[in-house]
């Protein structure tokens, strides 16, 4: 969750003013079928919002304003509601991310096992800061909260996989292997 306090409202307004007109986003027929099946599972259409956004992020990589509109149309909700949801949850990317999204845990159990040192190492190795993507579009680096793998700390997530008991060497090997 991102605590921006009241700035959230301002941000929504600013975004709606500055958003440039983009091409509408359209689901592939397979994704559309999946979306319909998801919606049918729930007793209320709104309840399908998170799974639809997960599906959309899988399809498009991130949730652009056009993707928000697509979700809004599917769910029959105002696009401002969808934007409110997207901005609340940290897992929804509002900007494109690299092919590999590296998210390292910085919470207490990982911190005790040198997570800050590993984060520095990742920054140097990738040549980017937290929140940035390498110029070749391959890696995005994010620092996140507890991944519930504290007993195998330090931990990080690369796309859908969680990698634990991290060391600098392990990170180097992994990054070398990611093509």
């Amino acid at each position: 969750m991102k605590n921006d306090g009241y700035s959230v409202t301002n941000k929504i307004m600013a975004d709606s003013i500055t958003t440039e007109q983009t091409q509408p986003a359209v689901f592939s027929p397979a994704a559309f079928k999946e979306a319909e099946a998801i919606i049918a599972r729930y007793p209320s259409r709104d309840s399908a919002t998170l799974p639809i956004l997960h599906l959309a992020q899988r399809e498009f990589g991130y949730i652009s304003p056009a993707v928000e509109q697509l979700a809004a149309d599917l769910l029959q909700r105002p696009v401002t509601d969808i934007h409110g949801v997207v901005t609340f949850y940290t897992m929804f990317n509002q900007k494109p991310v690299g092919k590999y999204h590296i998210q390292i845990c910085r919470n207490i159990s990982c911190w005790l096992k040198n997570a800050p040192g590993l984060l520095e190492h990742l920054k140097n190795r990738l040549g980017i800061d937290v929140g940035e993507t390498t110029p070749d579009g391959k890696f995005t680096l994010t620092a996140i909260e507890c991944l519930a793998h504290c007993e195998q700390a330090p931990a990080m997530q690369v796309n859908d996989d969680i990698i634990t008991n991290l060391t600098k060497e392990k990170i180097d090997t992994l990054i070398g292997d990611l093509k």
Partner: protein, 429 residues
Amino acid sequence: MKLVSRNFATPDSHKLAVYEQSGGYARIRKALEMEPQKIIDEVITSNLRGLGGAGFPAGRKWSFLPKGNPKPRYLVVNADEGEPGTCKDKYIMTYDPHLLLEGIMIASWAINSHTCFIYIRGEYVKQARILEEAIAEAKAAGYLGDKIFGKDFPLEVIVHRGAGAYICGEETSLLNSLEGQRGWPRLKPPFPAVEGYLACPTIVNNVETISYVPWVIELGGQKFAELGSERNGGLRLYSVSGCVNKPGVYELPMGTPLREIIFEHAGGLPEGRTLKAVIPGGSSAPVLTAAEIDIPMDFDSLAKAGSMLGSAGIIVFDDSVNLVEALAVLIRFYAHESCGQCTPCREGTGWMRKIIARVLDGGGRPADPDNLLRIANNIIGRSICPLGEAASLPVIGFVTKFRAEFEEYIATSRKVDAPATTSRMAAAL
């Protein structure tokens, strides 16, 4: 003795056939022959407590469902596992998803609910897939669907992934999230048992709580209760992380002494290190000093000692850890996760973050320990949900019990004009 962790090491333990070989799905068959009220009575007798954090007796929660309300009832399993230091529900979902499903079936029969949602944290992609596969297997066997075990009782289980918000582990935030809204907690009352998902009566229980229900049925409430301590029935999973030789998840009786968990089960501290502090129940639980670990790990004993058993996420700090910086990690976390609805929590966590950042930057003031305490005390009791307290209690615990360390840190790292930009905070976190 092992109950919910019994199958963790068995190969292919996540498969239905393997689960049934170990006696799985016998308890639901037995339960379906029992009156639902009889099951609730057994769970009350068992002293099974809510293992998500609050420790509310499970059977009593179930009996709060309003009678004669014609709306559908829902069971929601809390698999958000967001509390830092907690990593136990993952084992159940990874290695014994059918145990959770059997617990869901028994609970659903007991409370007469036909739809169960498992709200699982978004990062548990693997566990969500394992659960989906287990549900499909159970459906194919006729254990879920229109007539479970041939009985005229339909039951669907839906896996619902969260999307990265600690606050969504709080039950009313979770319900808003499940309804497709921002995860803002709701004012209570009404409690979810009366008005929960879509304003229908809803029981929210943690994964582990539900996974002990088959064992209550198998052993009987009385026998289950006797495995634990007074008013804290049975066993539970303790997650141990931080400065120990064998971090891991250990299933032990309620009331097991904290010292025994750290020094016997988790292998003690690395050679040459001594114990400095322990957080006994997830990051929200007030810290204990090394002198306070001769305590039975149950809800009542820890409450009496001014801390809490919470999620039983035990985080161990040895003498090499700087506790000022450790607290900074926790403060930053809560400031980040405050949903921003209540002014005291939103602003208070933000101010605590600013103060601890300046302390780490070398600009701490002698009054800062008291400043932190004052802010923390002003959040407590003035917030919609317990996150406000969860953010404040660790601050009060650390600053009160290790005050000298805070004062020394401020005195020795103090600079006259601390540059606000070169943040050691960033480096430390």
